[in-house]
């Protein structure tokens, strides 16, 4: 199916001049997004997009250009731009493309054939059903901020003059809704979603009920008193936290002196309950993939094992510079050169379900939503402070809802303060998997 993309990539690579390394990334996406409101379609977008990114390395200098088109003329212009850009880069002895490393590309089933043939009318019906169940879930539900169905078929091909040649196709779809619950003058919100590779993986009713419950249980929320408390991060919140943690384990950040774990390989950096893996070969993950952004095999990497730092992730460049091998963690779209990053990060689950985790806490707070992660968390210094909302925990039970407070600590301290990992792995529309996480001694700032 993506053979035509590979053929385009091959043609670009064949244009390499003597002494040039060339890499071409060619992508095509078909996307549908349907938003519904009050039982009718609010908007339906359906489109195909494509693009090409060309990277050239000559004598230790790299240039790059892209175009959102696969026209022959656009490709020719992009190639010329990339070539022209080469001369302005600083010489770097480690610059260069990825080379085949002998690791076989895993055979993963990431293409849901049923998605391709799923009728638009059925997609609309699913989104309308999502909204209907939200509205019917509780009399206090006053409306929805959004209810949508979205899917995509993504094809990508990568070829290089160094011998990389791979192509693949992945599908994904999700349902997502923001519900509003109102009592008197007060409105609260909650979201729910369901993700999969094809529509049969989706469960509108579960997503709807989750959104309604998250919104209604926040009604009557008050600002909590400030103090130091044990906090249960719900899977959605944990996943966002893991996404930031992943940044600190990126080999390029380490090399460039931006990782707070730079000199800690082999040392204990957190609770022995913590085992962190990056496994894009787990097909349950939304961001599962068979190959990384440079066309090397995606693979399972254990980053932290029982609290001990085991590994940083690398792409070809950072690995060469660090004197190691790529872990298959090149991250990119067609509009950029590869960076380094985790592809699908997850904690190995523990044995307790969320109710048991809560039952073990006398005085704490369950955080169901955080805000301002991009403004209040600095992955270089480790300073961590986010807005939060959730429910107080008293004597092992969920108590009153709380909002307008922050939770703060440092990433370093939070890893050490982990008290338990739940058994409730949750796959989310992002590059991290959720699980309930109990962290002691977070500073809650409120009234």
């Amino acid at each position: 199916m993506s053979e035509d993309l590979l053929a385009i990539a091959d043609r670009v690579v064949a244009m390499a001049k003597p002494g040039e390394q060339i890499e071409a990334v060619v992508v095509r996406g078909t996307e549908t997004e349907i938003r519904v409101f009050e039982g009718d379609v609010e908007s339906l977008s359906s489109a195909q997009s494509q693009g090409v990114g060309i990277r050239i390395v000559v004598d230790g200098r790299q240039g790059f250009a892209y175009a959102g088109s696969l026209d022959e003329s656009a490709i020719a212009e992009t190639l010329a731009d990339a070539r022209d850009n080469v001369s302005f880069a600083t010489f770097d002895e480690f610059a260069g493309l990825a080379e085949p490393d002998g690791v076989a590309i895993p055979v993963l089933d990431l293409h849901g054939d049923a998605l391709v043939s799923f009728a638009t009318a059925d997609k609309i019906a699913m989104a309308i059903e999502l909204e209907r169940v939200v509205m019917a879930a509780d009399p206090r539900i006053s409306g929805i901020e959004s209810a949508e169905y979205a899917d995509s078929i993504s094809e990508a091909a990568i070829a290089s003059s160094t011998g990389i040649r791979t192509a693949g196709s992945e599908t994904s779809c999700f349902l997502a809704t923001y519900a509003m619950a109102t009592e008197g003058d007060e409105t609260q919100t909650g979201f729910g979603f369901s993700v999969g590779r094809e529509p049969s993986d989706l469960t509108p009713s579960a997503a709807a009920i989750e959104a309604a419950e998250r919104a209604t249980r926040m009604l009557g929320a008050v600002q909590p008193a400030s103090g130091r408390l044990t906090v249960v991060l719900d899977p959605w919140v944990t996943a966002q936290f893991l996404g930031i943690l992943g940044y600190t384990l990126d080999g390029e950040s380490v090399l460039k002196g931006r990782s707070l774990f730079a000199d800690r390989l082999g040392e204990s950096v957190g609770s022995s309950l913590l085992t962190l893996i990056d496994d894009p070969t787990d097909v349950r993950s939304f961001t599962a993939t068979d190959a990384d952004g440079e066309g090397l095999a995606a693979r399972r990497n254990v980053l932290i094992e029982n609290g001990v730092l085991q590994k940083f992730v690398h792409n070809a460049y950072s690995a060469r510079r660090a004197g190691t091998v790529s872990t298959g963690n090149a991250v990119r779209g067609f509009k950029s050169t590869p960076s380094v990053g985790c592809l699908s990060v997850s904690l190995v689950p523990g044995i307790s379900d969320p109710a048991a985790l809560i039952a073990g806490i006398d005085d704490g707070v369950l955080v169901q939503e955080v805000s301002g992660l991009h403004s209040g968390v600095n992955p270089v210094s480790g300073d961590f402070s986010t807005g939060a909302e959730g429910l107080r925990i008293r004597n092992g039970e969920l108590a009153e809802p709380v909002r307008e407070f922050t939770i703060a600590s440092t990433l370093q301290k939070m890893l050490r303060d982990v008290q338990a990992v739940g058994n409730d792995l949750q796959f989310l529309p992002m590059n991290a998997t959720g699980v309930s996480l109990v962290v002691a001694d977070l500073t809650v700032s409120g009234s």
């Binding site: 880069a89 901020e145 400030s226 805000s371 991009h374 409120g446």
Partner: protein
């Protein structure tokens, strides 16, 4: 970009199945960027995105399709797809006659970045790197980025509107890491304007680099921020994001219409302290959020949102305005031709007051002085919002004392607006921002004078 006769033909096709409104939005955008990191110019990137998005509205339903193919065949295929998506049931033909208008932004670009040699752009990176590292040995890492883009848009719709615009933006940023006994800290400085390479006549990159380095160094000695409520003084130009989050998003008519805003139904009411006047102004010349026309072809406007504390109006795009039988306020924006427009801010700012900024600090016995805010986020339905402080200090006995580590502040929009108890006479615009909404990012500006909020919750760790 596209012939008028082709546009008329395409709009006719889009309307053929009963559409009530159809629009072609075409875009040809060129980006150039260069990054220096770890002492090396890593690469120059050039990029081009070109295509058109077509929408068709039938009743309350919008159909949308986009294409990278700007030929008549490609556009007609997209128009048919958009019309099918809108599920129009009617028939017949629809003739659209376009009336070409000109877009004007009142000033000229002096030097188009595309005409500037790449070597000159790269040279700026090296200068900033050297200047930042010269500040001191504790500066352990420096990253410098340059970016420019030129965006040519065309909007034609079934109301006969036909307008084109050409926008140039230029951006420069320096990020530093400082390493000390207590770990690493970061400092950043960025500038961006809706102008060309003359950006560098207005700013000295060496000075920008030193500012970023100083910010990182200052924080090496910083203590953890306090935890709990206290007065907060926001510095001139450093904190417009406060209003962007506290009330800006909540005044977007699409969110208001869905009941997802705490400001719903409050026009005419006192929603902020007297003296507080908040404006969203796309016409503000050369600012990062400047537009000549919005992405629906409507001229940019200066819209007063809150006047002397009273809510005067929301911000509107074409669809919401049409539904209410009024005019768009010029706030319909989109990230690219691949996205539907929605209500977005441009340059959002708070007008200056009359107080001397130093006396505002001097009259604050204990509090926090936030010189630079980072980003923020708001839940418009509850009004709760956060924003980060990237450079902040304690205020003790009316004096700025120790630097504080980073953290978020949290408040509730309608409450915080009522707690503004001092406004300085020193208005300034802040650094360039990117506002995210429903996954679409657009360039926005903001500005404030020095101001004080009598009580905000500070999300630090210190008792």
């Amino acid at each position: 970009m596209i012939e008028q006769s082709v546009l008329e033909e395409v709009l006719g096709v889009a309307m053929r199945t009963g559409g009530e409104f159809a629009e072609v939005f075409a875009e040809d955008r060129r980006n150039a960027s260069a990054v220096l990191d770890d002492g090396r110019v890593e690469e120059l990137t050039s990029g081009r995105d070109r295509g058109a998005g077509i929408r068709v509205v039938v009743g309350d339903t919008t159909g949308f399709a986009h294409t990278a193919d700007l030929t008549e065949v490609g556009l007609i295929a997209a128009a048919e797809a958009a019309a099918a998506a809108a599920r129009g049931g009617g028939g017949g033909t629809n003739v659209v006659a376009l009336d070409r208008r000109s877009a004007s932004r009142g000033y000229d670009i002096e030097t188009y970045p595309g005409d500037v040699a790449k070597a000159r752009k790269v040279e700026l990176l090296g200068r900033a790197n050297d200047a930042a590292r010269a500040v001191g040995g504790a500066i352990s890492q420096v990253s410098v980025s340059y970016g420019d883009n030129r965006r040519h848009i065309l909007v034609a719709n079934s109301d006969g509107l036909f307008v084109e615009d050409d926008t140039v933006r230029t951006f420069f940023a320096v990020s530093c890491v400082a390493t000390g006994d207590a770990g690493m800290q970061t400092g950043r400085e960025s500038v961006g304007h809706t102008i060309g390479f003359e950006l560098f006549d207005r700013y000295d990159v060496d000075q920008l680099a030193r500012n970023a380095a100083d910010r990182a160094l200052t924080k090496l000695a910083a203590r953890p921020a306090p935890s709990g409520q206290m007065p907060v003084v926001i510095g001139s130009g450093g904190g417009g994001v406060l209003f962007h989050e506290a009330c800006g998003h909540g005044l977007e008519a699409d969110l208001v219409a869905k009941g997802a805003s705490v400001f719903r139904g409050r026009v005419g009411q006192q929603v902020a302290s007297k003296g507080v006047t908040v404006v969203d102004d796309g016409t503000m010349e050369r600012e990062w959020g400047n537009i000549a026309v919005d992405d629906e072809g409507n001229p940019a406007q200066r819209n007063v949102l809150i006047e002397d504390g009273v809510l005067t109006d929301y911000m509107w795009d074409h669809l919401r305005a049409r539904k209410e039988g009024r005019r768009s306020s010029g706030n319909g924006r989109r990230q690219s031709y691949q996205n539907l427009p929605m209500v977005r801010m441009t340059n959002t700012y708070l007008l200056a007051g009359e107080e001397d900024p130093e006396s505002i600090i001097a009259s604050t016995p204990k509090g926090v002085y936030v010189k630079h805010l980072g980003g923020g986020q708001v839940n418009t339905a509850t009004g709760d919002f956060v924003f980060g402080m990237t450079e902040a200090y304690l205020i003790e006995d009316g004096k700025i004392t120790e630097p504080l580590r980073e953290g978020n502040l949290i408040g509730n929009g309608p409450e915080v607006l009522q707690r503004i108890d001092a406004l300085g006479n020193d208005f300034a615009m802040g650094p360039p921002g990117t506002c995210g909404k429903d996954g679409q990012g657009v360039p926005v500006g903001d500005g404030v004078p020095t101001l004080r909020v009598s009580s905000l919750t500070i999300g630090g760790t210190a008792a």
